[in-house]
Symmetry: C2
Subunit: 454 residues, 2 copies
């Protein structure tokens, strides 16, 4: 059933020949050939099992049977565009809306997080005819042209990067390594005031703010958890300037944070974005995504006179799959599970922090957790090579983890939501062992570090 078509070398050769080289493969020196997956486990061509700690797309677990069945059944019946009425489309929109604050009531179904964020920008710009967009340092919002423009994580990779003059970058609200840290009396206001300053400067130059966009928790940017109250204050400044607040939930939505269904809700009940974008986990791997906004924003977009049609977006198969994902999250209480095992993961990692000087910070909510490695806990020197070493050593032990952030020194946990206590025990034990070896080689001791030495 999972027989190989090509031997691994041929697969690699064909990939080199026919697949665009700009997509980096994991572990390029010895890449993995994965042939099947189930739950939080992936299997290579030899049947070797890998524990998947990173795939937030396989949200309810790889190849979940309810999702597969919903997709397969609908594929047999009908898969067409949304110029026809379809019950699953409207039922899905209704169910999704029920997960959101009331005023976020209008859905646009599209095919990827990138399409969602691009449409969100179009909605925001059309709303009042404004053009300037504020984004965060290290942000990543997608791969289409308009999103490269608002993704410093991407455009700073280019040597000849020209920043779009309508795009303005605010400091990342990172209280560990950022401009205002945990010891600041009010980092939320301080970071929000920086956004206010940007707005003032835009106004001085005659510009007008269309939107502030941020991931509710920065993912590629280094698993950053903004201080509570930051979004409320930013939204106030931005709305006063006539702009809208776009919360990008592509990486972090759908119950991953445990306490809430959406990560923006971590900021408090009093915060409601004007536009929410979704992606990766929404279809458990099926290419689909969604933008949800208010009636006012939707009406303004329509009154432009330009139609918006998306060939595949919201088709019956995508709707059936989206519905199945929502149902599995509820039926299996995956949000509650994320809260419980996520807390266990964070606790176990905190214990490691007490032992390992390389661990500078543990931060996260539910099953979205970052472990920032540093060579020096006072200077915060990024332990980039060490993070890579952890990833490679874990791979040897059949565990898939990755490192990200501007210094590529943050270990990222964002596993399928069925991740279990035993999985946590396994990966934490391996990390403990790897860090012990690394610290031995580096001559690092906790006592030294606490004294600021190395």
């Amino acid at each position: 059933m999972s027989a190989e078509i090509f031997d691994k070398k041929t697969t690699i050769d064909l990939r080199k020949k026919h697949i665009g080289p700009s997509c980096k493969i994991f572990f390029s020196d010895d890449p993995l050939k994965i042939v099947r997956a189930k739950g939080q486990y992936m299997y290579d061509e030899k049947g070797q099992r890998y524990l998947d700690c990173i795939n937030n797309v396989a949200h309810v677990g790889h190849c979940h049977s309810d999702v597969v069945q919903a997709g397969a059944q609908q594929m047999q019946l009908l898969n067409t565009n949304s110029r026809f009425l379809h019950d699953k489309l409207v039922l899905y929109a209704q169910r999704l809306q029920a997960k959101l604050p009331d005023k976020l009531s209008v859905c646009y179904f599209v095919n990827s997080g990138s399409e969602a964020n691009d449409l969100a920008l179009r909605l925001a710009k059309q709303f009042r005819g404004h053009k300037d967009v504020i984004t965060l340092e290290n942000a990543y919002h997608g791969h289409v042209s308009s999103l490269i423009d608002i993704s410093p994580y991407k455009f700073q990779q280019l040597s000849d990067a020209e920043q779009n003059p309508f795009v303005h970058v605010a400091p990342s609200p990172d209280v560990y390594r950022g401009k205002y840290r945990a010891n600041h009396p009010d980092p939320a206001s301080a970071y929000a005031n920086d956004v206010k300053d940007i707005i003032d400067k835009v106004h001085e130059k005659g510009g007008k703010i269309a939107a502030f966009i941020a991931e509710s928790l920065q993912s590629c940017g280094g698993q950053v958890i903004p201080p509570v109250g930051y979004f409320q204050q930013v939204a106030e400044h931005v709305r006063k300037a006539g702009g809208v607040f776009i919360a990008d939930e592509v990486q972090v939505g759908f119950g991953r944070v445990g306490t809430h269904f959406w990560a923006f809700q971590l900021q408090g009940e009093d915060f409601v974005p004007d536009i929410v974008t979704m992606g990766k986990p929404i279809g458990n791997g099926h290419p689909m995504s969604c933008v949800v906004t208010t009636k006012e924003v939707a009406q303004a977009f329509m009154s432009s006179g330009m139609e918006y049609f998306n060939t595949f977006g919201g088709n019956p198969v995508s709707s059936a799959i989206g519905l199945a994902v929502l149902e599995v999250i509820e039926k299996e209480d995956l949000q509650g599970h994320a809260l419980r095992v996520g807390r266990y993961l964070t606790n176990q990692l905190e214990k490691q922090k007490e032992k390992h000087p390389l661990i500078g910070d543990i931060r996260g909510c539910g099953l979205f957790v970052g472990v920032e490695l540093v060579r020096d806990r006072l200077k915060l020197t990024p332990a980039t090579a060490e993070a890579q070493e952890v990833i490679y050593k874990l791979k040897e032990q059949h565990i898939l983890l990755s490192a990200d952030g501007p210094h590529r020194n943050v270990l990222k946990f964002k596993p399928p939501m069925c991740f279990a206590k035993e999985d946590i025990d396994l990966v934490v034990e391996k990390i403990d062992h790897i860090l012990t070896e690394l610290e031995k080689a580096l001559g690092m001791k906790l006592a030294n570090i606490l004294n600021g030495g190395n």
Copy 2:
């Protein structure tokens, strides 16, 4: 199995409440609720069958069992991103490449025609660092921001449309209604020279041409078939200026034109684009698409230093479905079928043209056919209202056809490729009847028209 969840009124109400109003529904006064489809037929909630003459997405037929099975099987096994090796990804790339000229050897798999065209523009601009793009009048290339910019079909809908200063619009190579017509001694060269003039003007202003982009046959633009030799000459001018030729096959690829697998091949063996984009039919409704280019263009893109990763693009399910579509096209000789029934369709329509003064032009290749309705065959006055009337009357008789083009007066045939001779007989008979009634009401007679009167 196809039981309704909501009665039709509730479906309509929920749609109004929760679905972005910018997506126009077909026959908005009395929309269709489609619950299942097979081959070239769709069925509403009461079991009424509709003949589908327009859905070029359901390329090998709605819900083709081979495609459904391939998708369902792969969904059970594995659906992850392309940072892992996967045999179906490379096998699919190899099979797709085998359908193209040798030099088009590198594939980028993405999720929609819009993502494909956006990436094509990025590849083109990165190639030599040029920025100016030439597009055609009435062109439509997709719904993301960068593509609205190059789609006059879209941006001209906006009252306050500002044309992007790097975008230049060349005349549509329409030999029926365009600047140079069938009576011109060499319309191909004339239209190509207009592109050359644009290039010269761009150079005068210090700009540099990144790309010329065109659908191989304009679809929304009015089913326009460019004169043979036009693309070769344009490509020569554009390449001389350091730009690339992008052939957009999103609507027309995969054997639809009958004589060839790709519509750009209608221009002759001596024409090879630098980039080809695909979409709609590629996955028979599954959200997927592809950009294929040369090694040189791919290398230049990689050497920018910016990674290109697409979460869903080229996943095992999309690859399995794409492979199944290619296999069905071959197994059922759908390209040959498109040629045969397409010729029959064109012949039957030509006979109608002899009878009906409202028919100004019949044009097409294979199962991509346009019927342009005019109120006056000399003045070419668009018969827009009449085209709408034909569409609505056909719907009453359970046949789905649409009208497009800048004047919305071109009846568009682009049915699933399993469209049969009997289907053609049915739809042509109905059109004959509707046109007869319309012409009677308008007092139109062929003899009057031929004399230039009305």
